[in-house]
């Protein structure tokens, strides 16, 4: 490997990152840059460390007692593992959407208002209403739920729940959005909706998406990183990776030899 695709000033940059679960190494010396207004896809067989690496980007790995990260990860040039880094703010700036939609068991409104409330982003109730409406609109959900904002978020369909989670994430006005297989629990129609949404959002955020569906990676991303057994095998422009991979392993994977 594999100089990361060069960018002037990347939004996030990781250098020589290793992650361990206890004694087991899950990520081995990964360096990668993530840019604004770009969708970066992580692909690779199951267990190769995609999720693990994704979670290092907003320090969600802190919640796993055995996990240990070393190397350097910078957001706008600032080291996010520095001791004076405020995790709470970091996570507000780097939002996350999970594999299984996980709306809180509260109303739709409360789900979206949760982040702004805890961070004190809304000055007034009207302000909060506006944020909620904006976020839901951006997540393409406003039309479907505007008449039932007080229904429980868990009562929505799977695809709607996932969009609700996206709305929840963008309500705190993040700069980066991390998505871990956001469509793997959804049916084809809902998947299509989310993919469309990713397209739209791309203009405002840096988006990182983990997927096991190569067609999806090809459809939504501009850059693709292929992981295997904890290492980053190849990272480059999506169209190139899919049509003309430089590594044998990448090719085998893309053509379905394994995984």
């Amino acid at each position: 490997m594999h100089a990361p695709a060069p960018t002037a000033s990347p939004k996030m940059s990781a250098r020589h990152v290793n992650v361990f679960y206890g004694r087991k190494q899950a990520i081995d010396d990964v360096s990668i840059d993530v840019d604004m207004e770009n969708v970066t896809a992580f692909i690779g067989p199951s267990g190769c460390g995609k999720s693990t690496f994704l979670r290092t980007l907003n320090r969600m790995n802190d919640t796993i007692a055995t996990a240990r990260v070393d190397g350097e990860i910078r957001l706008d040039g600032e080291d996010i593992y520095a001791s004076d880094m405020d995790v709470v703010q970091l996570r507000a700036r780097v939002g996350m959407v999970f594999q299984k939609p996980n709306p809180f068991p509260k109303s739709i409104y409360e789900n979206v208002a949760y982040g702004p409330r805890i961070h004190g982003l809304a000055a007034s109730k009207a302000d909060l209403d506006r944020i909620v409406e904006q976020s839901l609109t951006r997540a393409g959900l406003w039309g479907e739920v505007k008449d039932r904002l007080n229904d429980s978020g868990t009562a929505l369909s799977g695809g709607q729940q996932q969009r609700l989670c996206i709305a929840r994430a963008i309500a705190v006005d993040p700069e980066v959005i991390l998505m871990d297989e956001p469509c793997s629990a959804l049916d084809p129609i809902a998947t299509a909706k989310i993919e469309e949404l990713i397209h739209e959002l791309r203009g405002k955020y840096a988006i990182v998406i983990v997927t096991h569906n190569m067609q999806q990676a090809a459809r939504v991303s501009q850059r693709t990183a292929f992981f295997h057994l904890g290492t980053l095998v190849e990272y480059g422009v999506t169209s190139e990776i899919f049509t003309n991979p430089r590594q044998e392993r990448t090719k085998d994977y893309i053509t379905g030899r394994y995984g």
Binding site: V88, Q134, E200
Partner: protein, 422 residues
């Protein structure tokens, strides 16, 4: 979707003063919350420590006893017993009939003055009697025999006591007549009206017999019903009813089981009062649901993939259960059983209802003999007139706690040892 519909928003300035202040407040709240949690845990622990310490502090004295070296001049007593009587079964009756008790009292008066009889325990003469039985030649000579001191003297020797006892103890100590030692009687004796002669073995044996019945009944029935409910029962009214009854029985106040035992076992089946068999039956009904629930959870925790695997190679349901599920669930079932048994061992209220609240000075030999159990013994001693029982009560509590803690520790050990994550 239409991007024109997406309004713009001003980005949040995370470095703003107000934001920073807010963050600091949130972290302060976080610390407070965490501190509250720690305080709750620590206070609970402190309470436990205080409880244990109180019991230890007031109960340790119960394991020791103060003794008086009593000089006895047997020939002068002129006891009317013939040596050949002493070898036979009637020795006790013969010695008692010969007025040994009064003679010992008189010897104490002679040795320690007018209140001499008050410094030795009421059962001191029994010690003398045992000594004579062990060595009949004593009757023909003088001897000094160490007998238990009266409770007041023991109190004076180990802590605070009435002034006259303090004085008497000081006098005895000055005369070198006071010794102390480990109170074996406490571990080997049965209930007594005399605190220096009272022991817990009778109650402990009652507890053991009771637990035997409880375990023998509750364990098999509990395990079998757990298996039935978890592995076989169809979902219908009947099994719902069984399930609801079991869950409710687990939470029915224990005293209600006492009322049940009183009405059914004593009232209807005319079983003997105060008997370990009745206590055991009552407690078995009480802890059976505990075992069923623990058993069900243990059975449920066996991953379905194991059942699938066995079914997949053509095992029948009984084979699945007895070859795979039960062996894997056993540690969990045992844990639940031990916890249930610990609960039964510490239970008092239902046994009061079925007559185990009795003065029983001989340890039980059979399941139908009258018996008490350890916690009831504690309850009875806490109400004793004689003050010497205060420390006996705490000492008995220590013994009970040792048993219970051991059982709980075993359960926790089993749980940690066999807690498998599949």
């Amino acid at each position: 979707m239409n991007s024109a519909a997406i309004p713009d928003r001003a980005p949040t300035d995370w470095r703003a003063q107000a934001m920073q202040r807010r963050i600091r407040r949130r972290y302060a709240a976080e610390r407070r919350f965490r501190w509250l949690g720690l305080a709750a845990v620590s206070l609970s622990g402190a309470f436990l420590a205080f409880l244990l310490w109180t019991m230890l502090a007031s109960g340790l004295g119960g394991f020791s006893r103060t003794e008086v070296r009593l000089p006895l001049d047997f020939p002068a007593m002129a006891l009317d017993v013939r040596p050949e009587q002493l070898g036979r079964a009637g020795a006790d009756l013969a010695l008692a009939g010969a007025g040994l008790q009064n003679a010992v009292g008189a010897a104490a008066v002679q040795a320690f003055g007018d209140d001499g009889e008050r410094v030795i325990s009421d059962s001191a003469w029994v010690t003398v009697r045992e000594a004579i039985k062990a060595d009949p030649s004593l009757l023909s000579r003088r001897a000094t025999i160490t007998v238990p001191a009266a409770p007041g003297i023991h109190e004076a020797a180990t802590g605070e006591a009435r002034p006259d006892d303090e004085a008497a103890a000081a006098r005895l100590a000055a005369a070198g007549a006071l010794t102390s030692g480990f109170n074996w009687t406490f571990l080997t004796g049965a209930d007594s009206t005399d605190p220096t002669a009272a022991g817990i073995w009778g109650a402990l044996k009652g507890s053991l017999l009771t637990m035997l019945v409880t375990l023998g009944l509750a364990f098999p029935i509990g395990v079998l019903s757990a298996i039935y409910l978890e592995e076989y029962a169809p979902r219908n009214r009947w099994t719902d009813l069984i399930e609801v009854s079991i869950n409710n029985l687990a939470a029915v106040p224990s005293i209600i089981f006492g009322l049940l035992g009183l009405a059914v076992f004593l009232g209807t089946f005319n079983m003997p009062r105060s008997a370990p068999v009745v206590g055991g039956l009552t407690l078995a009904l009480m802890i059976m649901p505990v075992i069923v629930i623990a058993g069900r959870n243990a059975v449920k925790a066996v991953p379905p993939s194991i059942r699938d695997a066995a079914l997949g190679v053509g095992a029948s349901r009984v084979q699945v259960v007895f070859h795979h599920v039960l062996p894997l669930a056993l540690p969990g079932i045992l844990t639940g059983t031990i916890i249930g048994m610990a609960r039964a061992l510490g239970e008092t209220a239902p046994l009061l209802m079925i007559g185990m609240r009795a003065f029983i000075a001989t340890p039980p030999d059979k399941l139908t003999d009258a018996a008490s159990v350890l916690p009831v013994q504690i309850f009875l001693w806490s109400d004793q007139v004689s003050r010497g029982f205060v420390e006996k009560t705490s000492a008995a509590i220590i013994v009970l706690l040792v048993f219970l803690l051991a059982m709980n520790a075993l359960a926790i050990y089993l749980r940690n040892r066999f807690e498998t994550r599949w």
